[in-house]
Symmetry: C2
Subunit: 311 residues, 2 copies
């Protein structure tokens, strides 16, 4: 009798301000749990989804991010007669800019790999997780999936060939993420962006991204802060997020190194050099939303260096 | 009796394809030599300039890149009564995209520092060298001056605060640079560029620049090659350089890792993993210009890690 297995796939911060569509990092919390066990009925079944928080997620395997990634991976293993059922426990907000669909997609494929004991390398699993992520988003972009699966801060040079690179980590770096409970559709967050960027802003933005990489290699927290200066996306998208400027300003005042919009928003992330500052930064951010009566969720977490794990 | 001193300031490759206006590296050759010695006549005098190759460089200290940088540094030392004369020996082509004015500006300030024994740190000298460079170019950009002075490959996050970072070096990395003797005015090279870049190209370009930084830290030459893929500037500017595509293609065929336009052109640089390949790459590039009857100069050089030196 196989009691099944359970995996955890973490939330992630995509874009990271200056790394639009090419940079992301994983959090230790929140995240999704996926259970998988064998069953007599051949094929893959989604038995239960919890934590949808009023939203709807499909039970149809081919339409569910966790389902599709798990299914495609099973197909690749050529085990069509296996019967497996999974449960998806969403333990993080949906549509918050924290890579919820990516976490589920990663959880799906990880759960199969663990249940079957196939020990396929995480790098290999990435493409199946991307299949799932693609269902929920506009393109095939690894900036949430890769950190959720692999952990750490990941730079994606090229999505097509999955030419991606984990940046070295950095002791004590902590993220504070606040999710103000307002809805921003990824589509709207895309549409608000101008299709073009001035050459001078491109130079600033790319020099900042490159300097952020230097900062991670050198462990230079001040340089990390200076580099987190998004001159292209944040000025356009922050309008969609209530009180963005105040929240960021108060976080900086408490000693955060820098920060920006997480993914397509509305979540806002800040990085701090240790957990104490990150907690203070969280208090300051909370206060803004509390005072204006906007509901929120707050997460304070180190950068997650392990990615998805069996637990 | 003080016989005077001599300094060498190297040529440099600015832009480095994906690092438009924010990345540059120094070469071991060619470069400029600047002599300085004390004289009875108070103030700074330019006594001689050689190697102008048919072009004119001003003897007026305030209009000469080496003169102005030397003068401004002397002013900062509060030694108005000193009499110093300098000689500038241009040992590299002017207007070639190899940072000729930057080398002279660096040579000027270095020569004063060495003659006076003031031992001011190179980082401090940078601003005076930039004063000189500014005379000869459109803006105050350190992407040639910083590598020529400091050596290595330098990423400039911000020109205003001189927030710049030397990337780690990489054994055996060799540059092959060919200068086809056609004139491109920096102004024309600027004017041909569109003021705007599409968002998708910005993402590719900045991910490539960031990956180039990763490659330098990891010593990953293949990644360096893949990252040297300029999708913004090269497609626009290469039209100004005769036979650019053929030259690059034949260099790649000989095993170069990658390359692009040096500075504003017309020089073309390629990077290779060792000197043997770099020499072969040079032969292949030469052949193209030889066959069509365009005069050229070829330089094969490791990346220079010392920058300007007393010699």
């Amino acid at each position: 009798m196989n009691p099944g297995i359970k995996v955890f796939a973490p939330a992630s911060v995509g874009n990271v301000g200056v790394g639009f569509d090419c940079l992301g990092f994983a959090l230790e919390k929140p995240g999704d749990e996926v259970f998988a066990k064998f069953t007599d009925k051949p094929g893959l079944t989604i038995k239960r989804i919890t934590g949808m928080r009023g939203k709807k997620l499909p039970y149809d395997v081919m339409k569910n991010t966790a389902g599709l990634s798990a299914y495609n991976f099973m197909q690749s293993l050529n085990e069509p007669k296996l019967g497996i059922e999974i449960e998806i426990h969403k333990k993080m907000p949906l549509g918050s800019g924290l890579g919820s669909s990516a976490a589920s997609a990663v959880g799906g494929v990880m759960a199969i790999n663990e249940l079957l004991g196939t020990r396929v390398e995480k790098r290999e699993l990435l493409k199946y997780a991307l299949d799932g992520e693609e269902l929920a988003s506009t393109g095939r972009n690894a900036d949430n999936v890769a950190p959720s699966l692999l952990g750490g801060m990941i730079l994606i040079r090229d999505n097509e060939t999955l030419d991606l690179h984990r940046l070295p980590h950095f002791n004590h770096l902590y993220a504070t993420v606040i999710y103000p409970k307002v809805e921003i559709l990824t589509k709207d967050a895309r549409n608000i962006l101008s299709e073009f960027v001035s050459l001078s802003k491109m130079i600033q933005q790319s020099a900042n991204l490159a300097s952020l990489v230097v900062a991670m290699y050198k462990g230079d927290e001040q340089l990390l802060g200076r580099s987190l200066n998004d001159v292209v996306i944040e000025p356009q998208r922050s309008k969609l997020i209530p009180h963005f400027d105040n929240v960021k300003k108060s976080a900086m005042k408490m000693g955060a190194l820098g920060g920006s919009i997480s993914g397509a928003g509305p979540s806002i992330f800040m990085l701090s050099k240790n957990s104490l500052i990150a907690e203070d930064v969280g208090e300051a951010m909370k206060k803004i939303y509390h005072d204006v009566g906007i509901a929120y969720e707050l997460f304070v977490s180190p950068i997650n260096h392990e990615g998805a794990i069996r637990c």
